[in-house]
Symmetry: C2
């Protein structure tokens, strides 16, 4: 069944009203009509099966049939802080990271980020990234929509980092043989419900100064397996291995 994230203001006692782009998707793309059913996701993470009771060009009115008991969200809140990469790699990271259960994304301007986003470009890019995250959430049947934060500077990233119980940096030199504990050593310390931040550099990695500042803010340097991963693969490894640890171990 097709799934839509519906903002809180569109929920009434027994009805959910669909507005905006989703009206076009429901009526034109999916060609649904009165009596057809969809799943509506509430921003609080709950979801329900709804039946379409009326539609016009501006809105689709649905009636709530049953609330669902679902549990497809990662039991930890994972934030991927990604140094701006080249080209459309950030879109790939957002899409795949959403499928793999990330709770939020912070794109930040790293010292070695080659692209610079001015205000106009950032606003356009961010709205595209948020659309990608919404679509990927719907397709992967998630009940929570990951947050895509505004573009952040490195000092801002450090300043907000103490809101996470666990702060990690994926660091190439750790893969290259700098002494490091294995990932499970750090995963075992994470409790369900806690917030985890994983920082990933752009193509050129982090600068010496950034590494120094991470140390001062008590980030933990981790490796993601023994092979050198491209920047856009690192987030996916981190999320898949956290999913394995929390969701696929007996």
């Amino acid at each position: 069944m097709q799934r839509y994230f519906v903002p809180e203001s569109n929920w009434q006692e027994n009805q959910v009203i669909i507005t905006g782009d989703d009206v076009h998707h429901i009526t034109r793309v999916m060609r649904m009509d009165v009596k057809d059913k969809i799943i509506c996701n509430h921003p609080n993470g709950k979801s329900c099966v709804c039946e379409i009771t009326a539609k016009d060009d501006d809105q689709v009115v649905t009636t709530i049939i049953t609330w669902q008991k679902e549990n497809v969200e990662l039991p930890v809140y994972v934030t991927i802080a990604q140094g701006l990469p080249k080209g459309d790699k950030l879109e790939l990271i957002l899409q795949k990271g959403t499928e793999l259960g990330a709770a939020s994304f912070i794109p930040f301007q790293a010292a070695r980020s080659i692209v610079k986003w001015d205000e106009k470009k950032a606003s356009k890019k961010l709205s595209r990234l948020r659309k990608i995250a919404k679509e990927a959430s719907e397709q992967s049947h998630r009940t929570l929509l990951p947050i895509v934060e505004d573009i952040t500077t490195f000092p801002e990233l450090l300043m907000t980092s103490d809101t996470y119980q666990h702060r990690f940096v994926a660091y190439e030199e750790t893969t290259r043989g700098l002494p490091s504990k294995k990932l499970s050593h750090y995963f075992q310390k994470i409790q369900p419900g806690e917030h985890v931040c994983i920082c990933i550099g752009p193509e050129g990695g982090f600068s010496d100064s950034e590494i120094e500042q991470f140390k001062q803010h008590e980030f933990t340097f981790i490796r993601l397996g023994p092979r050198i991963l491209r920047t856009e693969t690192a987030a996916l490894y981190a999320l898949a291995s956290l999913s394995y640890y929390f969701e696929e171990m007996e």
Copy 2:
């Protein structure tokens, strides 16, 4: 240090001769010269640091300086059998799957594959995919080059499947709640050195008939976390979680 996979015929007792496209890469792209060093990978998985001793337009002659003690290969041989997906998704799967340690890839024509590869298209596509796998291996500092098999039919895939000790199918209905054991249940049965095949359907998943035939050939149906993954994300989840299990657990 830049890394190159060199075919067996180019190895002599103390020398490695680079020919083909890599000559251009070494001399023009990397602008290396006599006395510069590179890493040469032998097809047997060993690698050595080599110094360039001579070069012309057709070849680069290098002398072996030291053999390396490296262990960056996944301790199990993982084959990703991928139902042909749309667009350039197979390239993404090959590139990321190589970074994540896959030993080989089998692209196969699934019942619901929308693209059909005729002979001419297949030959062009395969040589491109093999180039992608070689470059991704070099970039991720692997010592083995994954094999990209020729395009295969579904019956051929089944026929060769008994060469693997472990045969898995990523099956959407398992994610959707069909009773299934967790991944770790199956991973625990895999011993280092064994061969594992993971079959992944195209966008529309496997047909009922394909599922039936997998059952007859005693494939195990697995889920890859509780969220529905796109076809190109499934291989990456499987490889990352196997890497975590075999390489990142204390």
